[in-house]
């Protein structure tokens, strides 16, 4: 674990500060106006003392502890998962524009999960539940399909992305068809396609947490391999790397992370693309740094986007995917412009 010490202290501190700020905003803002000082007092009491003397009503306490807090954690985990998966894909494919959404793996996960739900199949495998396993297979198949199609057409940055876009469009069409056939409401299909965070209590958080911890640890451990992959495969082997194994492991873990995130949040676009880039611009190109910092910044970004979605038009709500795409799409264009000639 010496790798941890290579992360610039300053960058790490700043990232955690941003995440902490996002957490505070997420807990203090929302449709119900609760005085911020009372919230601080309540949080202090419930974490550091046994917390009985609070000026908050029972409903307000429930809103903070059972709605805002789990939703913050869920948003953070989904954001971190998508960002780490994005960094992983970018490393493996040596492609700065790879991301779970553009590669089709998010759409594959969606189709896999829907197939399992609609057909009521029992495909649980080892520690994976049926829905997660279906989503995982779908994500994996989509990424492999995109990789195969692109390698048969020149293996350039553009060909991988175009293959991914084609795969995603096809799978999303299948998914929408399935949902319509099964009389899911239009709102539900719409909500799924643009992404939303659905929680009540800690259920969804508990679903996603173990997968995140597992996959993050593995991708993080492969950070050095991903750095070696930035050179040619021969050079990488000469330096003691095993490129094929690294690719298989990282693609699998990134797919699994994407799959579980998508199964709770729908298709949230651009997070996996934008966050690793921001981190890369700020602290450099080493994946040993990009991966952990992407997790923290991704968590902060998505939970802040959700806070905005919950409070901007309160007591109504915006779907979170609208906000991430609103920020992410222009950013995507910016990256394209900045990297003119290299992509």
């Amino acid at each position: 674990m010496e790798d941890i010490f290579r992360i610039p202290r300053l960058a790490l501190t700043v990232s955690f500060l941003i995440l902490g700020f996002a957490a505070l905003a997420s807990i203090c803002l929302g449709a119900t106006k609760i005085p911020i000082l009372n919230i601080f007092e309540f949080m202090w009491d419930s974490f550091f003392t046994s917390g009985v003397n609070s000026s908050l009503s029972e409903i307000e306490k429930t809103i903070i502890m059972e709605w805002r807090l789990p939703r913050f954690v869920l948003g953070a985990l989904v954001g971190a998962s998508l960002s780490v998966a994005g960094s992983g894909f970018q490393g493996v494919f040596r492609n700065p524009l790879a991301d779970p959404f553009l590669l089709g793996s998010a759409a594959g996960a969606g189709l896999g999960a829907t197939l399992v739900i609609v057909t009521d199949l029992n495909v649980s495998f080892l520690f994976l539940g049926s829905v997660q396993f279906g989503a995982f297979l779908g994500a994996l198949v989509a990424v492999i399909a995109a990789a195969i199609i692109s390698s048969s057409s020149g293996r350039t940055t553009a060909s991988l992305l175009l293959s991914g876009v084609a795969v995603a469009a096809f799978l999303t069409a299948c998914q929408t068809y399935l949902m319509q056939r099964n009389f899911v409401s239009i709102q539900e299909i719409y909500g799924w396609l643009i992404g939303r965070l659905l929680t009540s209590g800690w259920g969804e958080v508990l679903i996603i947490l173990p997968y995140f911890v597992f996959c993050f640890s593995i991708i993080f451990m492969y950070g050095r391999e991903l750095d070696l992959l930035r050179m040619s495969e021969d050079e990488s082997k000469a330096l003691g790397g095993s490129p094929l194994q690294a690719k298989i492991v990282v693609i699998s873990c990134a797919s699994l992370m994407t799959a579980v995130a998508v199964s709770v949040s729908g298709l949230i676009a651009f997070v996996g693309l934008v966050i690793p880039h921001v981190v890369r611009l700020a602290v450099g190109a080493s994946y040993r740094i990009i991966i952990p910092l992407s997790a923290i910044i991704g968590a902060a970004f998505l939970s802040s986007a959700d806070t905005f979605a919950r409070s901007a038009v309160a007591p109504a709500e915006l779907p979170i995917g609208v906000i991430t795409a609103f920020i992410g799409a222009p950013f995507f264009v910016l990256i394209l412009k900045l990297s003119k000639g290299t992509i």
Partner: protein
Amino acid sequence: MKKLFVELNLLISLIFLGLTLSFPTFLAIAAANNRPERIVSISPSLTEILFAIGAGQQVVAVDNISNYPPDAPTSPLSAMEPNMEAIATFEPDLVVLSYDIGGLVKGLNTIGINTILLPAALNFEEILNQIIELGQVTGNLDQARELVEEMNTEMTSLISMRKSKVRMSVYHEIDENYYSPSTNSFIGSIYRLLNLHNIADQADKDGVGYPKLSPEYILSSNPGMIILPGKTPEYVAKLKNRPGWSAIDAVKQERFLIIDPDIGSRWGPRIVAFAKAVVARSDLDEN
């Protein structure tokens, strides 16, 4: 920007209003001498109205979602993606529809088929107006007037029944994404008529009709009754288990109303049955 949007909205509504007012009247005059005998309906709501005013005999085909009344001649015609050619094969002399998708009205008129376009009603009064209009166009005006009078009487008595009662607040949950119809939709507008406070209204400042509510807002506005279209007992059990929801009055008193989802999405004669069910459930003395 917002002002421009509002003005644009107003302009569009005015154009719509102009169209809906002038066009059917014109058709009605034409139809008076020429009673349509081969009607095709591609709107489930209008199908219900046609059968309730005795025009059922004149209907040769209805779309694939029109399932009420049961003797409506359901066909594979799509209500969501209407296909002009498929409609024309029934050789209709009148097509009734609620959405003019892909220039359908113009297309049908070009090949000599009359159409009447009645978009989603926004409130009870508009439903009654549409019933009269369909009565005129199909030559069943007397029965249409009778139906309207009957609906009006029943609604008036429901309204007066509720007038003196406690003003309870209601939450109408379409699905787990917390979409809810406000007073700007026909189904949500019924609550205000019945002296009930629809909590979706505060979230619908833009008047879209179906805002997505923040879950904590639902919790803190403490609705006294929850309306659930087409939900199962398992759904209700899950709803009760949402954190903090056991403190909501509606949950404490088990004041849920599960309605036929078709009634909640169609503006037609059955809206009165819906209002009746709401009034019966909102009666505090009952429990």
